[in-house]
């Protein structure tokens, strides 16, 4: 009987001991954060500028990259790709009548591979074209990008002053939008050898640069007006 007691008691002690040991690490274990794996592009490594922003846009379904696993970060971005990325990133509704919306352009038909996205950015008043042309494969420069981002996000200016030495040289149709972009901290311009800031409005914009600007704008979600 005594033996039996001993066996039962030591067994109980063993079970208790084991459960204590076993449960300890679970009690203190931190909940594991499951992160979606990064999408690998053969031409954009984690050390490259814009890597995080591109990954964020990929995870939001805004960017896919090119077939063959390339992102082509330094290729100048075309207007049609800006339209696609914006339509995806902002989840813009596709207008009911795509052909009718596209009738303002004579160079984009409803058979165009990005017709829905181009119609979406047109209906949202982000793009309006020029002389009935959307010019889908033409590249976009930095001052045009300013206007696109300001329109896409309904950005408005504020009273803060901006300091860009080439401000007066910017195209009059984009100047105010560059100012608004700077006032919303989406651009601080580039720095020349004298340490002065400039915007470089007519310079083309690469795919990775556009991704950085867009990611900054996407992280700003606020009320711009109450009327």
């Amino acid at each position: 009987m005594n033996k039996m007691k001993k066996i039962i008691l030591s067994g109980l002690a063993l079970i208790l001991g084991c459960t204590t040991i076993a449960s300890t690490p679970f009690v203190f274990a931190q909940p594991k954060v499951v992160k979606a794996a990064d999408v690998k592009f053969s031409d954009l490594s984690p050390a490259d500028s814009g890597y995080n922003q591109v990954q964020s846009l990929v995870k939001q379904g805004a960017i896919k990259g090119f077939p063959g696993g390339k992102f082509k970060p330094h290729q100048n971005i075309s207007r049609e790709h800006v339209a696609v990325i914006l339509a995806n990133a902002l989840k813009l509704p596709v207008p009911k009548n795509v052909s009718k919306t596209l009738s303002v352009y004579d160079d984009v038909k409803s058979t165009h591979p990005y017709s829905k996205q181009i119609a979406a950015v047109t209906a949202a008043d982000i793009f309006k074209g020029n002389n009935k042309k959307f010019r889908p494969s033409q590249t976009i420069n930095r001052e045009q990008m300013a206007t696109v981002i300001v329109k896409a996000f309904n950005l408005t200016g504020n009273s803060s002053s901006i300091d860009l030495i080439d401000f007066a040289k910017l195209d009059a149709s984009h100047r105010d939008n560059v100012k608004i972009l700077a006032q919303n901290n989406i651009t601080i311009g580039k720095i020349n050898q004298k340490g002065q800031r400039y915007y470089d409005g007519t310079r083309s914009l690469t795919r990775v640069q556009f991704s950085i600007f867009l990611d900054k704008a996407l992280n700003s979600f606020e009320v711009v007006d109450i009327s």
């Binding site: 939001q60 990133a89 902002l90 989840k91 813009l92 509704p93 209906a123 949202a124 996000f153 309904n154 950005l155 704008a217 996407l218 992280n219 700003s220 979600f221 606020e222 009320v223 711009v224 007006d225 109450i226 009327s227």
Partner: protein
């Protein structure tokens, strides 16, 4: 180092750490507005397209004091704006506050960066004292009064209010208790009392 110095430094360090650890709220507020339309629809415009199911009476509402008033919410402008319409008309002289909480989401699932609000009041353009509003912070109560253009001077109790713009007067007081009633009088150029209004501190 003397003991008293050490003590003082210790108190300072504790005080600074308290100040720096105080919760900081990044609320945004739009300037106070006066309206004449008792059924005014407010249009709130955002930087991004909204997630329709996050537009609810919990994320967008109008307060009358601490009570939400019934409103109708409609998405407009390619889902980038919300129209807020009162179900019943606003009442004159009351302080209303339009509020947008950070539970509101963009179509991309991002929460509003900061809760946003705007106070407003329905005014009667024909009366001499068109609106009275107050804001309080740290024992300081500031009054703002909008008047008709023929008002020459405004007194709050016995104090003459400062001019703060066209037909706008303002005056601050320290230590006014909640529930205190103040009297506001608007005078004409000849010193005639055009209107007297009582106002209770929140």
């Amino acid at each position: 180092m003397r003991k008293s110095h050490k003590l003082m430094i210790a108190i300072l360090v504790i005080a600074i750490s308290f100040i720096s650890s105080a919760p900081v709220t990044f609320a945004k507020s739009f300037p106070y507005k006066v309206i004449e339309d008792a059924s005014k629809t407010w249009k709130i415009t955002f930087t991004q397209v909204l997630q329709a199911d996050s537009v609810t009476n919990a994320s967008v509402y109008i307060l009358d004091g601490n009570t939400k008033i019934p409103v109708r919410l409609t998405l407009t402008g390619s889902n980038k704006s919300i129209n807020v319409t009162p179900v019943t008309p606003y009442e004159k002289g009351k302080d209303y506050e339009l509020k947008v909480e950070s539970t509101l989401k963009s179509a991309t699932g991002k929460s509003l960066n900061q809760p946003t609000s705007m106070k407003f009041q329905l005014v009667d353009k024909s009366s001499a004292i068109q609106s009275v509003s107050q804001s309080s912070a740290a024992g300081f109560t500031n009054f703002t009064v909008f008047t008709r253009s023929d008002v020459y001077k405004v007194n709050i109790n016995t104090t003459e209010m400062q001019m703060a713009g066209i037909n706008k007067y303002s005056q601050g007081f320290y230590g006014l208790k909640s529930g205190t009633i103040v009297t506001i009088k608007a005078y004409s150029e000849t010193g005639k009392v055009l209107e007297t209004k009582s106002y209770t501190i929140d």
